[in-house]
């Protein structure tokens, strides 16, 4: 029995090891003789569309500058990510770029990099010891721009509903900035602040909107709905359309593909504010170039403002 059990546990171990080996990305290429600058991009989230986009953009920028870029994805495995950072350190790359992912979970890898004097740049990653600079969106600015846009669309007056999700620090910052913006308009009143459940935010927001449309049945009693991200905005739009309350203006944030499609219809979904990933990628490449030329970034946090998406540029 014991033998069998042991044998089967070896078998399990073997299978797991084989799976891990199959999942692991190919090793980072060695530095060519031509002494091209080499950059290792490591990410746990390549499966995420946005992450893939921003890394592809960065790669384009970097290659245009004549650098050699390798991209390694660890499919949400932070342990493997640390190993990959250490691999990059061993190969003496000129810079490491974190493509999103919380650097607090990469401590060992970051320590190895800083001991080897290899700079680490974060794209929408986070700040932690060993990260030279993080380039990310300014959630406060995103919230402010979206609230300003909605306030203008309703001519600075009327009742506004806010869809929030305070446990998420980014969305919380957006909502705080939006609330402050609305407060500056004396004729705008935030009548409801609703917490949207995740997962299932579209359906949840749709139901809450249906209930609120019933609670405020007169046309014009709700001027606008501000959502902390695009999913609840979509739910609100669907409820407004179904109830023929198309006078209500809905505003989202993130500029996701489905939001753009809805905005393009010129219905209640008036606009969304997108994080500017092109600018993030470009800024990161710029900072690395400056670093290679001996100029360190003046701050460890660079905030990129959002980009407004309306019916005019949504296609």
């Amino acid at each position: 029995m014991d033998m069998i059990r042991r044998r089967s546990s070896y078998l399990t171990l073997g299978v797991v090891a084989a799976l891990l080996a199959a999942c692991a990305a190919p090793p980072v290429a060695t530095t060519p003789a031509a002494r091209k600058k080499t950059i290792a991009v490591v990410t746990p989230y390549m499966a995420n569309e946005t992450t893939k986009y921003v890394i592809d953009q960065f790669k384009k920028q970097a290659e245009a500058k004549g650098w050699q870029v390798t991209v390694t994805d660890t499919a949400a495995d932070f342990n493997l990510l640390v190993t990959r950072i250490k691999d990059a350190v061993t190969q003496k790359v000129d810079a490491i770029v974190l493509g999103m992912g919380d650097p607090a979970q990469m401590t060992q890898g970051l320590e190895a990099a800083s001991q080897a004097n290899i700079p680490v740049f974060g794209i929408d990653a986070g700040n932690a010891p060993g990260v030279l600079v993080n380039v990310t969106s300014d959630n406060t600015a995103l919230g402010k721009l979206s609230a300003e846009t909605l306030a203008k669309a309703i001519n600075g007056q009327g009742n506004v509903i806010m869809f929030t999700h305070d446990p998420h620090p980014g969305v919380r910052a957006r909502a705080a900035a939006a609330a402050e913006t609305f407060a500056a308009y004396p004729n705008i009143k935030v009548i409801e602040k609703k917490h949207i459940e995740v997962p299932g935010p579209v359906d949840n927001a749709r139901k809450i909107t249906e209930d609120l449309l019933t609670a405020y049945p007169e046309s014009g009693s709700i001027a606008g709905i501000w959502a902390g991200w695009d999913e609840p905005a979509l739910g609100a739009v669907q409820a407004a359309l179904a109830a023929n309350r198309t006078e209500i203006k809905v505003m989202g944030i993130d500029g996701t593909a489905f939001a753009k499609a809805e905005i393009a219809k010129k219905g209640p979904f008036i606009a969304s504010v997108a994080q500017d990933f092109d600018a993030m990628a470009a800024k990161t490449a710029e900072l690395i170039e400056a670093y290679f030329n001996g100029k360190k970034p003046e701050s460890d946090l660079i905030l990129i403002p959002g980009r407004l998406i309306t019916a005019e540029n949504a296609q």
Binding site: E49, P199, G200, V202, R206, A215
Partner: protein
Amino acid sequence: MEKYPVSEQQPLQRMTSSPLIKLNRPHDLAWARKWGTLIGFVALVVLFSLLRPDVFPTVRNWSNIIEQVATLAIVAATVTIVMVTGDFDLSVGALASLAGVVAADLMANQGVPVALAILAALLVGVAGGAINGLLVAYGGLSAFVATLATMTAYGGAALLYTNGATIFSRIPESFRWLGQGDVAGIPTPVIVMLIVVFLAWLLMEQTVFGRRLYAIGGNAEASYLVGISVQRLRLIAFMLSGLGAALSGVILTSRLFSAHPQAGNPFMLNAAAAVFLGATAFREGEPHVLGTLLGVLIMGVLGNGLNILGVNSYIQSILTGAIIVLAVLISSLSRRR
């Protein structure tokens, strides 16, 4: 051993001597047990109607509530079938999500006709349910462990299938009818809900199959000994639960006219809550389809009413939890002698 039960009985004796429990004749108890949850529901309706008489008790609001609960009622009615046997199905939310994205992808991206895409999605649900059933009935895993594992796996499959993204473009317009259309003014999801609830009720209350499932729930060992094919019936129960979850996921996709890889996930906890609430109504604390429907309605009315009153979202969650506890507590207290 003789002494111990005596000392245990003391608090009970104290309870029976309190004036509150003097009413505690078996007759009153049975009454409270049978109708307590329904009375609670009516009380909620009356309360909300008094607080917002212009809004809550209107036809528009009620059609709103019923349309809102339709998808949940479908999942909850079919998950009741599993819960009757004493098992549990944690995977229904993930299966609903998976079926939703499969249907959307097939019709939007693979050129599959709408009806076939829906059928394929339902088959995914049945297959997922069958895996659950095989693991539980034949593999000997506890339903909790098995469906916890498959919940994770099905959820992962939905994310993998869509790469985490939302499917929203090229969905055929004819698919809209299932989630947003109506028949003679009655929304399609409500009609589907009524059919599913009726069929589930018929199956559980009026057929030998249903009675056998209740027998398994009462005592699986004894059911086996009297010749009921326990394993096969449990397998079928899980397949029906998977089918209901998938149907609900497909309707949700049509309603939102977009498929989000986690859209169905909230169904799991809400359906379980509805079944537990429903088990306190009309009967001896066992799950049953009409009770589940009442449970779903209570949750729907609660959410809608509190939203209309403008109650803080976090407090809404606390109240929902408190009401479930209260209902089950009253039911179990009134069952004690």
